[in-house]
Amino acid sequence: MVSSYLELRAKIEQKDKGLKEKVKSLGEAAALIPDNSHVAVGGCHYSRTPMAIIWEMIRQGKKGLTISKSITATEGDLLLVAGATRHIVTSWFSAGVTWGVSRIMRHYVQSGEARYEEWSHMSLGLRYRAGAMGVPFLPSRSMLGSDVFKRLKDIKEMPCPFTGEKLALIPALNPDVAIIHVQKADPYGNAQIRGLPFMDKDIALAADTVILSAEQIIDNSDIRKAPDQTAIPFFCVDAVVEAPYGCLPHECYGIYEPDFHHMDTYVKLMMERGVDGVKEYLDRYFYGPNTFDDYLDQFSVKDILKATLQAKKSHGG
């Protein structure tokens, strides 16, 4: 459903937009996410996934969430099995081409327990962008004629008033909450993103509430040294959490590659043992540890070092 403009404006008007410190614990930050809300997830596939925030969301027992993400990877399995969501809005869902089709996704979707709302990749991007721009839709020339289009409820087509050409009208998406992992942010929420930006800038501006996790919290004076590197402006951010290695086992550009060993192990467990296997995984990695550091402690130091060195090598850093 496309929101009415005055409702959207009212929500932003209520925000404190001052340049103020917003550093919070993972627990405090995730507490800003209400049950039954729409949570847009930054990153794409297994890159810059806000895993630390998702870890905490699952531990807090969130329910009824709608999750949107450009491409959904293993975090989608975890959110489904943990019962946090039964409605995923995405364009592709699996760990990766070489790992096969997610058995978890198939289980929940084929049984009708969960809804996979499929949009084309660009269309989902345009939905966030329309939301970020404060318009109710953006015109597009994609998806027309396909069954993807026909299956969607909130989408329209019309002849262009200028050219007569048929256009798809992609409805705005203004998520209740955005969760985004970045390399660096200052305590006010000014964020720098290196490497692939994905849809994160648009997601941040489209959402009503924005939670950032960052590999490192830096001083505002460092932000001001290179203002053209700021990707997300502080005034849309509601919480900043420092979470080094906050994407593991996924990757964070320039800092670490995926922990492929962990990913292989997870996918094997998931593909062989399905929901039960993922429940075990959640017990061990999500519900068991007391802190996110304890979660990281379950990983192999050797694998983390390898992922870190690989990233540095790739980027000449």
Partner: protein
């Protein structure tokens, strides 16, 4: 002439489709075999072919043996010419800056429609597949090359679900739906190279891989296939092409004999 070389069907498909990519053009390549083929083209006849990745990458620098298993990860971005947002890289297709989209196909029908969403009924799918990703956008906006294994269950009369649009129901139906640019260009399989009849918008056999016969192609195709009057025989992969493939993908992650 090169000496006879041995190759598997996936390698054959990879080499054949690489040859379709012209120099000076821009190709939007998916992970797996399409990416491998595009890099092969760069390293043979199409030195200034530009590759785009869905993840937001223009002109990546791919190290042999390190082909990224996703086109959304950092290996794609390092040493590229430009990275930009996912939405913006996909929009380049809409603007016209992409000459070819290059997809693997789970299931394709006589009109070139691709299904990568599910097998079975809309409301009660037998098998849920990963989904469209950028496939729908690519097929909606640019000319598409599909590389796939030639099997009856993959080349079907009608796909269960049109994830990525080809010529829809044939004739002018694609244009009438609003898709006035792009469209299916070629389907490359281990048996044949297939094009599309412009008027009817249906698949049409144009060339045979060495050793394949029209009869064999027909037997492995799930619909009545148009056949061009004059068929050509595609040259088999050369030793040089195969050598490059093996350098790029030494573990044969993307050209294992089972196809795409």
């Amino acid at each position: 002439m090169a000496v006879e070389v041995s190759y598997n069907t996936a390698e054959l498909v990879c080499v054949s489709s690489a040859r379709l990519l012209e120099d000076g053009k821009v190709v939007f390549a998916g992970a797996g075999l399409p990416l491998l083929a595009a890099i092969l083209a760069q390293r043979t006849h199409a030195k200034s072919l530009t590759i785009l990745f869905e993840g937001g990458v223009i002109g990546p620098f791919v190290e042999p043996g390190k082909l990224p298993p996703s086109t959304n990860e950092q290996r794609c971005a390092a040493h590229a010419n430009m990275v930009l947002s996912t939405t913006d890289v996909l929009l380049l297709q809409q603007r016209g800056y992409v000459d070819y989209g290059f997809l693997g196909g789970a299931q394709i029908d006589r009109y070139g429609n691709i299904n990568s969403s599910f097998i079975g009924d809309w409301d009660n799918p037998k098998v849920r597949l990963p989904g469209t990703g950028g496939g729908n956008d690519i097929a909606s906006l640019v000319k598409v090359i599909v590389a796939m294994h030639h099997e009856k269950r993959r080349l079907v009369e009608k796909v269960d679900f049109v994830t990525s649009p080809g010529y829809l129901t044939g004739g002018r139906s694609r244009q009438q739906s609003g898709l006035i640019a792009g469209g299916m260009l070629k389907v490359v399989t281990h048996l044949a190279i297939l094009g599309f009849d412009e008027e009817k918008g249906v698949m049409c056999l144009e060339g045979l891989q060495r050793g394949a016969t029209v009869e064999e192609v027909r037997q492995n195709t799930g619909f009545e296939l148009l056949v061009k009057k004059e068929l050509y025989e595609a040259a088999p992969p050369t030793a040089e092409e195969l050598k490059i493939l093996h350098t790029l993908d030494p573990e044969q992650r993307y050209t294992s004999p089972k196809g795409d």
